[in-house]
Symmetry: C2
Subunit: 486 residues, 2 copies
């Protein structure tokens, strides 16, 4: 076993975005100690700093799920082959990318098991047991779990063989309720992404060829990364009665007839961490929105003279006051490193605000505050420091969202002709809205020819009447958002 | 696929403990909707009510881990066979009970993977990458995860093929620090079990034959269930340099020499839920300690007259005031069920306190409070109700611990002779402390002959000088705690 030695050493420098955005991304992920490669092909290790971001995301999401009436539960990791096979479209979509368990202890299994790639099947069977009457509905359950999908090409956080996610699975009495739930959770994702991650997203409906295997309708939120590529950041599926029929989730309705339930599922994953990195980061490394930053403020004392008797106690007092207000603070009082090294290190790790304090600042009863996003430094009086910092963190959160929105606006265009479209995709990519005839053939050809895919069909579209499809020239049925994507 | 139909229907009645304790346990778990069987052999579904208990346990533990300097991270689910094989004792202990992944998608794997039964191996490889110098130590990481161990006989929560747990993995510069950490975390477990779960535990050291595969020393906490059997409720292992040597976790020491790290690991699992059920429950069902009860108070309005205009608003106001104070409240205002049905249902689900309020109570400005543990009912004035309830919840928490302590005391005895020992194990079992010679042979024979195992060797033992081994009559080296166990 020498695979461990195959894990390359951590990069010492961060490749500039302009030189190689993909390299920049991996350098940041590894150098900021968010995640690392593992001895298992395609699987990553989420390191404590990266996991702390995930914990903050989980809290923000879990609070929203519970506020909308959902509860958490836990279903088995392993799914019998015969169970996976029951929903025809679903198995077609997932069978090629599951991991198979064929032996338990010394015993070869009679029936193979898959490691869940998603849990509609195993949850469907349980709901069938639990639902008897319309009174048992709705069921509104979420699960925090790991899933495995056998991927050929992987990239830390964005696409890994194993990843962490949440998957909501709900069952309803009527088609209307299921559709409402599907849209409600898409809305929760959008609001969460924008409020907590400062990551603006386009919401809309997936095309037939991009929808979830077994779904009636799939909706998604799509974010724009700083290389002009889109990232699917969350999906919400109306599964109609497909899974209810395959797994027999049926109930006695109010009129005493037996009906199949209408189900939904929706999920976001650790991929969101990749989205945050590529939405906000720069050549200095990570830039974290305050709401999901493990440390919102790093305090760096300047070690001059008898600083341990003078500066350090004051730095500790500032830390304690901030912590008491719920601010997440790192006081970096290590002797082994210089202030310059620390400035660089915490910039690289994306801490939104740096507080410097030295003997001179003490004399003047001030500190230096340096923003990670703008790199602006300012002297700030000690008096009223805590509320000032709280305000500044809110300002940074908003500034990051505004900057990301401005970036998206600059990289969003309309193209009615294919020449125009291709020119954009070859040049400075981004979102392009174009008229489309609705045919999967055109969609596939556009993908082959330009690498761009339909990210989604916007809910509110400019009228497509009189327009013709970008690709084939037939009458357009809708405008669609196109982009190259992750 | 008809396995789902093999899941039996939920029990309608709870078997009395005195009739069949094992049946009582399963009835409570399923009827209170804590967990259910699944279509996957040996794997359970943790239902929302059970999962809510686990979430509260997680919060209590996670807070304690962080307060003792630990951070969370996440390591891969899948471990290459060659990696598992590196620590000889470890593989001997775990290889017979792992699930093997042999195929990914359509590709048969060159090297088989195991689903982690525990993560020392994969974490060891990563620590070897991350640790270079004594300055990189200690590493204090915890992981919340699922693990799989192929079990022949399973029981909901107590022993399942897949279960949820936390596993702490730390690496240290010196043997002393590793031992301190091992004992610190055992202490955290003991304090947590007693404070949050009201579950008294014996702490001590495991014998050679009961220790973790690959550990130098294993320590455990052991709780006594209401059928007189012990439950191992948490373990903390000092792994010495065994894993550091197998996985090459080495570092440049302060004296510039190259040294192997000293590592520890420690874990508790969803098994704790089983422990709580069997520590506190009675023939009426579950009794939950307030600190981990998803609902600490259930409010049942008595539906007389125009109760929806009179009683219900008051019930809602009481709920809102309690919730504002952080009390977890269920207001059961369902029309479809009678108060009597609700009383029974919430008793079965172990809610510590029931609040009844009807038109007459409104007139008298009072409510009825019924304790689940003692079943005592009392009229309590509306004035000062919230602080009264907060106080009462604290009282119930303490009363449950006291009752469990008293039960343990009644079921703990000393036996110096084997006849005495066997009589106890055949009659009313419990913990028995007896002198032992330290030989694994005697330990094994005692187990064969009486089903009792050594749970652990107490830290503070009465002097064994002059005593002889229970089984062989040779000089005793220590007193040991014996019990039949889960």
């Amino acid at each position: 076993m020498t695979k461990d030695t195959e894990i390359p050493d951590l990069p010492t420098e961060i490749t500039p975005q302009s030189k190689d955005f993909g390299r920049w991304y991996i350098d940041v992920v590894r150098r900021a100690e968010l995640a690392d490669y593992s001895p298992v092909k395609g699987c990553m290790v989420i390191r404590p700093y990266g996991y702390a971001i995930w914990e903050l995301m989980q809290q923000g999401l879990d609070r929203r799920f519970k506020a909308t009436g959902h509860v958490n539960a836990y279903f088995p990791l392993l799914i019998p082959e015969s169970l996976l096979m029951k929903e025809a479209e679903h198995v077609e979509g997932f069978a090629p990318q599951v991991a198979w368990v064929t032996q338990g202890g010394n015993e070869v299994l009679e029936e193979r098991l898959v490691i869940r790639p998603t849990s509609e099947t195993i949850i469907g069977v349980m709901y069938a047991k639990w639902v008897q009457s319309w009174r048992d509905l709705p069921i509104l359950i979420n699960q925090w779990a790991n899933v495995v999908r056998w991927e050929k090409v992987t990239r830390l956080f964005l696409r890994t063989t194993e990843f962490l996610w949440q998957e909501g699975h709900t069952a309803h009495e009527t088609a209307e309720e299921a559709q409402e739930e599907t849209m409600r959770m898409l809305g929760v994702y959008k609001e969460f992404a924008e409020t907590e991650l400062a990551m603006p997203v386009m919401d809309g409906q997936k095309t037939e060829s991009e929808k979830f295997a077994g779904a009636e309708r799939t909706y998604s939120i799509e974010a724009l990364m700083r290389d002009g590529r889109a990232l699917q950041a969350g999906t919400s599926h109306n599964l109609g009665q497909n899974f209810a029929k395959s797994y027999e989730i049926k109930f006695q309705a109010r009129d005493k007839s037996v009906q199949f339930a209408h189900t939904t599922s929706w999920g976001v994953s650790t991929r969101l961490i990749g989205g945050v990195i590529m939405t906000h980061g720069d050549d200095g490394g990570l830039i974290l929105p305050p709401k999901i930053a493990p440390y919102q403020v790093v305090i760096v004392p300047i070690p001059r003279g008898n600083w341990k008797e003078t500066v350090l106690p004051k730095a500790q007092a500032i830390r304690d006051e901030l912590v008491a207000r719920g601010v997440r603070v790192m006081l970096d009082d290590r002797d082994s490193q210089t202030p310059g090294w620390k400035f660089n290190e915490w910039e690289l790790r994306g801490v939104p605000l740096r507080l410097e304090i030295g003997p001179k600042d003490l004399e003047k009863s001030q500190v230096v505050l340096a923003r990670r996003d703008t790199r602006v430094k300012a002297f700030v009086p000690m008096e009223g420091l805590t509320p000032h910092i709280e305000q500044l963190l809110a300002t940074i959160q908003q500034a990051l969202l505004d900057r990301a929105l401005a970036y998206r606006e600059e990289h969003t265009s309309q193209a009615d002709s294919y020449e125009e479209f291709k020119a954009i995709m070859e040049g400075r990519p981004g979102f392009v809205i174009s008229p489309w005839c609705g045919s999967a053939t055109c969609e596939a050809e556009i993908k082959t020819e330009t690498q761009a895919t339909i990210r989604n069909i916007p809910f509110v579209s400019t009228d497509a009447t009189g327009k013709v499809c970008l690709r084939c020239g037939a009458a357009a049925t809708a405008h669609a958002w196109f982009a190259k994507s992750y």
